[in-house]
Amino acid sequence: MNEVARANDLYASNNYLQAADSYESLRERGFNNGHLYYNLGNTYIRLGKIGPAILNYIRAQKLIPRDENLQANLNYAIQQTRDKIMPPPPDTLATLFFWVSDLSVNENINFALAINLTFWLILTAWFYFRTDFLRLVRNSILFSLLLAFVAIGVKLHLESSSRTGVVLAKTVSVKSGLDASNITLFELHEGALVNITDERQGWVEVQLDSKKKGWIPKDSLEV
């Protein structure tokens, strides 16, 4: 906690390089926190490193998805990039379970836990008060509980299936195959958000839309 405070102070006193080091060292030691990623993103913006900034904002988004400042800064950062690629819109599954995207994994779990506890309490109460109202409540809660369980599954699926990568290299040529000698299909620039669809032999397949798809060296981006 002290280290976070120290890094925040460094940021406040415009020592962005040292602030970034502090945040990064916390992150490398396994400290996982949305606000840390957000602050780190801000620090990279100040350092003019749009790619790492967007990367950390994207990481933060998974933990603090409803943070308005984060959304504003991410949009700002994307506007600073050359490609100005916005995060992909939600797919059908994410649209169907619309609330899932607004909750982090842990929030989804805690939500399910709360419903779970309520359900068992209601069931206990059912022993004493067998009323129609309580039956309705019990059934509704049971339905919500099942939905919450499915939502956790959906969230985990979305987290694992949609791998969003951020281009960190200044410019990267998107090739038609797994080799630099292949044709360059198009170019991406630092901060571009791509959807990673495959990974082979040090190359990753990235996709922007149905037409823009190709291979780039794995080390030119980060997930």
Binding site: A5, N32, N33, T43
Partner: protein, 575 residues
């Protein structure tokens, strides 16, 4: 008949003649200008006749051969309608012929008032005008109507109905109406025409007399039957040209009172209603809805105007051309004016459209009234198609927005997060602790359920209750018995036997005291107790029975007690 003196000029002569010298205001005068000796002349030049209305009624030419001498002439006929009473002179008429000017002598005419006749008198035709109010406010609607009453055929009507254009504005109220009316027992055909007059300035306003030119056809019945002895031929028809005048009217026009006069009063006078409707009350930013304001009532509704409603830049307003519908009911102009504004919301939120007011003067009540629309609440949702909104918006909207929005000078990121409490390490993995937290309430529930069920059984299941309490009761009784060692051996054995039987009775939910040792063994076996235990129990009970009838020393009491306790423990193990 008066004849002016002819003017001789070689063969050409000009004559002016009138059909009569004395007429009334209801009559016409026929002026004939006859030029003899030629037929090829331009029309005569009439002198100025301000007291008459002059209309040409044609020309006629004639050629006569008398004693082989041919004479030609042409007659120009004019109808002179007197406008005033008095003595008037028809000046010389000039005629140009063959390069010369010929003049006629003047003629003097006397115009008299028509002979006063009561309407009830045998009058075949008369006119009447009236105005709906003798006193009116500026802008108030008045009805000015003209009626022709006739009981003979009237044709070629030519109405001049001046209304005093300097005092009034006129609005037509449609075509003439024809109906029948009985006045003093005489049936008249009535033709009525009305106009709406709106006074434009205060003061005494005169409405001049209306004048109607017409030809009336009197049917004259001859005493002698005609040639064909047919009533048709027996009737003569006499045509008469008439000029009928109404009496001039006057109206006192009052200025609108200054007291309580609204500041921006727009001279709307009458009685009105106002209504506002909105096409839809729930829409998205960029959608269009129509605000319709309808003003209806009687009065000068045409003059009602509504400026664009001021909606504080929450909407872009596109006014439509107002629609005006007029109807005449009971000689009153009633109408409806509809104003339409297309509204395009610019911001989301719940908006109450301001009320719109109309100030008008109610001439009946003689004071100013204000009517207003009810406030309309509408919900504007954020646009679901924000991208396309820009295409829909007109340039003027953008310009307006630019004018009012704060100019953005620069953009920057928002500050870092400094609430240290929020910097907790987040473990995203679903670990054992998570699973435990899910299972824990279920376990608690199972325990609670078990407890609850047991508790319920205690209260409802006697057998269960006795079974559960058997051991405890027996132990307690044995303990009590141990304490009271001083009792006799026989009594002691009897007590032991009773305790054991009661225990078995509790366990098997039956009356324990009354059963025999053999029954006990059988019941125990039936209740799945081991044969061995059942046997032991029977033996012990038999032993107690035997001891009750044989003398025993008190030294055996402890041994017997232990035996009892052991057998109870053995039996208890089964449960």
């Amino acid at each position: 008949m008066g004849l002016s003196s002819p003017v001789f000029a070689e063969d050409i002569r000009a004559l002016a003649s009138v059909d009569r010298n004395q007429i009334t205001l209801e009559d016409n005068l026929q002026l004939s200008i006859t030029i003899q000796g030629t037929q090829n002349t331009p029309p005569p030049e009439l002198p100025s006749l301000p007291d008459f209305r002059v209309t040409s009624s044609g020309t006629s030419s004639s050629t006569q051969i008398i004693n082989f001498k041919r004479s030609v002439s042409i007659t120009h006929k004019y109808r002179l309608t007197p406008m005033n009473i008095g003595q008037f002179k028809i000046g010389s008429v000039r005629i140009r012929a063959n390069g010369k000017i010929y003049t006629t002598n003047p003629i003097t005419i006397v115009v008299q008032k028509p002979t006063v006749q009561n309407q009830s008198a045998d009058k075949s035709v008369f006119v009447e005008t009236n105005v709906s109010k003798k006193t009116a406010f500026v802008g108030e609607q008045l009805i000015y109507s003209f009626k022709l009453f006739h009981r003979v055929e009237a044709k070629n009507l030519d109405l001049s109905m001046p209304f005093g254009a300097s005092h009034f504005q006129k609005e037509e109220l449609g075509k003439a109406k024809t109906y029948q009316s009985v006045i003093n027992g005489i049936q008249y055909q009535v033709q009525e025409i009305s106009v709406a007059l709106f006074p434009i300035k205060p003061g005494k306003a005169a409405i001049p007399a209306a004048m109607l030119d017409l030809d009336i056809y009197h049917r004259t019945r001859s005493n002698r039957r005609g040639f064909f002895n047919d009533p048709f031929f027996g009737q003569g028809i006499r045509a008469e040209h008439k000029v009928l005048r109404s009496k001039p009217l006057s109206v006192k026009i009052l200025a609108l009172p200054e007291k309580n006069k609204p500041r921006d009063f727009k001279n709307i006078i009458g009685q009105f209603n106002i209504q506002a409707n909105l096409g839809k009350n729930d829409l998205e930013v960029g959608d269009t809805t129509t605000l319709t304001i309808t003003v209806s009532g009687k009065g000068n509704i045409r003059g009602v105007i509504f400026p664009e409603p001021d909606l504080n830049l929450q909407f872009k307003v596109y006014p439509d051309k107002p629609e005006f519908k007029q109807a005449v009911a009971a000689n009153q102009i009633t109408g409806q004016k509809t104003f339409k504004f297309a509204l395009v919301p610019l911001k989301p939120g719940t908006v109450t459209l301001p009320t719109l007011t109309l100030d008008y003067f109610d001439p009946e009540a003689k004071f100013y009234r204000q009517i207003k629309t009810r406030p309309i609440i509408l919900t504007v949702r954020p646009s679901s198609t924000e991208e396309t909104l820009n295409h829909v918006q007109s340039n003027s909207i953008n310009n307006n927005l630019k004018k009012t929005e704060i100019e953005i000078l620069a953009e920057d990121i928002l500050p870092i997060h400094t609430q240290l409490n929020d910097f907790q390490n987040v473990n995203n993995e679903i670990g054992t602790s998570t699973l435990i937290r899910f299972v824990f309430p279920a376990l608690l529930f199972v325990m609670a359920a078990f407890f609850i069920r047991k508790q319920k059984r205690w209260t409802t299941d006697v057998a269960f209750y006795r079974n559960q309490k058997a051991y405890k009761t027996a132990s307690q009784k044995l303990e009590n018995l141990t304490r009271s060692q001083k009792s006799e051996p026989k009594e002691f054995v009897s007590k032991l036997s009773e305790i054991l039987r009661e225990y078995i009775g509790d366990k098997l939910n039956m009356q324990g005291k009354a059963i025999t040792a053999a029954e006990v063994e059988q019941k125990l076996k039936e209740s799945d107790y081991q044969d061995n235990a059942a046997n032991e129990t029977r033996k012990l009970l038999e032993k107690y029975e035997a001891l009750q009838y044989t003398p025993v020393s008190s030294g055996n009491n402890l041994e017997l007690l232990n035996e009892s306790q052991n057998i109870i423990k053995i039996l208890e193990k089964k449960s």
